[in-house]
Symmetry: C2
Subunit: 272 residues, 2 copies
């Protein structure tokens, strides 16, 4: 003998689907047809917000609209918007700041750097990091590069080689291969003109913030070239870190192959 909580608008109580563009979409009770494609409202909201990020409606570092405004715009309750934002904040796509608003995550902040730079000094001193670009050129994707970036072999990619030094000690030798379409126009000069981490440049100049990455780590020995560049003995042990980085929508846009000298540093990781 319970009384239905009166809704603010005459929406049906069944499954709802938010139309692509719609604000207050007319609601429907689910038929058997859409049972397969059904997803909860808050995940649909999450998709809509993600599209706003992909489309550049809200840029890294900027605030997105308040929960209340998004709720009005999408025709759902604030609690539902909240749950969508909670999920995106857990994925480090958004950052909540009490009293201020919700912001698009950015690589411009120290906070975000350490998510993708896992190499830490053995003692916890501050370090001066410096990046030296050895090479930056366009080339055709090999089969392996193409597979990692979901391209076709022969597609254009940008290849970069650089050495990272900490307190003047060369420590990381990185080879990068970037999607040639996304990073069209990337040159050694542009990198040199930018001060800060590469991911900051990728985000601001190419609208492509890295959101996630998968790594495979092995131990190898230094060959002649890497030994010279890292100033270690040939045959010295190095960490080989292969990384595929993704932007919004889990789209892979960067393949990276790093050689880390772990004489005075270590790769830190947390198993949660």
């Amino acid at each position: 003998m319970t009384v239905r909580h009166p809704p603010a608008s005459p929406l049906a109580t069944g499954r709802r689907s938010l139309d692509p563009a719609a604000g207050r979409s007319s609601s429907t009770t689910a038929g058997p047809a859409d049972a397969a494609t059904f997803s909860p409202l808050y995940l649909q909201i999450k998709t809509l917000i993600t599209r706003g990020l992909q489309g550049g409606e809200w840029k890294p570092g900027e605030a997105i609209p308040s929960e209340g405004e998004l709720a009005r715009r999408f025709g759902v309750s604030q609690g539902t918007v909240r749950k969508a934002i909670d999920a995106m904040a857990a994925e480090n796509l958004l950052i909540r700041r009490q009293g201020k608003g919700t912001y698009v995550a950015t690589h411009q902040e120290a906070r975000a750097q350490f998510r993708f730079l896992r190499l830490a000094p053995d003692d916890d001193r501050e370090e001066v990091a410096e990046s030296r670009i050895l090479d930056c050129r366009r080339m055709r994707a090999t089969a392996q590069i193409a597979a990692s970036l979901r391209l076709k072999a022969g597609d254009g990619v940008v290849a970069i080689r650089r050495v990272l030094s900490f307190d003047g000690v060369p420590t990381v030798l990185d080879d990068l291969w970037l999607d040639g379409v996304v990073f069209r126009g990337l040159t050694a000069e542009r990198i040199a003109a930018y001060h800060g981490p590469l991911y900051g440049l990728f985000e601001s100049a190419f609208s492509t913030p890295m959101t996630r990455a998968e790594e495979r780590i092995r131990a190898v020995v230094a060959d002649g070239v890497s030994a010279r560049l890292l100033q270690v003995a040939t045959g010295a042990p190095l960490l080989l870190v292969e990384r595929v980085s993704m932007t919004y929508g889990d789209r892979p846009v960067e393949l990276r192959r790093g050689l880390y000298s772990t004489a005075g540093h270590h790769y830190r990781n947390t198993l949660g």
Copy 2:
């Protein structure tokens, strides 16, 4: 001119503190005195549930009471219990199963294994894992071991050495040092009698499930002993993985030093 939503019981609307044992604690409006120690209700609930886990009230693999029952027990709304459980599920302490209940996470399930075994075969074949215990004895903690386990130098610890093989190929050489009080009575025989991962044994026989770990990874070369045990050449590159594992309440109870042969395997990691 808003009307206060009528509460179900005459609780004050200010900050509440759940007394150590209390169910429906009498509530208080916060004075300036307790402002420093204030924490939201759902975090207090989270602490209470964690105590239940620590105290063995609910064991790994078992279900905890339903959200509704916990809400009644703690004198809060179901939504507040829900938020506490959500947080613990995000930390992999609890596992929610729709329609069934909420369960205490356990290392007995394949699902949990991979959280702490990050070494994967380069091709994604199935592997037969086998552990061979080389040594298990009691010793006194060195300064370094003591620091990692928050003990005093000279305190008793259990030291274990073992080799992990995949498809018959020795791949991991592990040295473990365990808190001697928590793991009193651990012997090579007990390990040999247990089939499955060590963390399963630790959980079931010593009421000490590992919930989290911090790792530091370096590249090293094999010395004579490790080369022989892993059947690689002296000077071959190996991953050195130093791990401190924690149980409930972030209490460190295991220090582990692993040497991984990455000829046919790699350490996998996700940067989120």
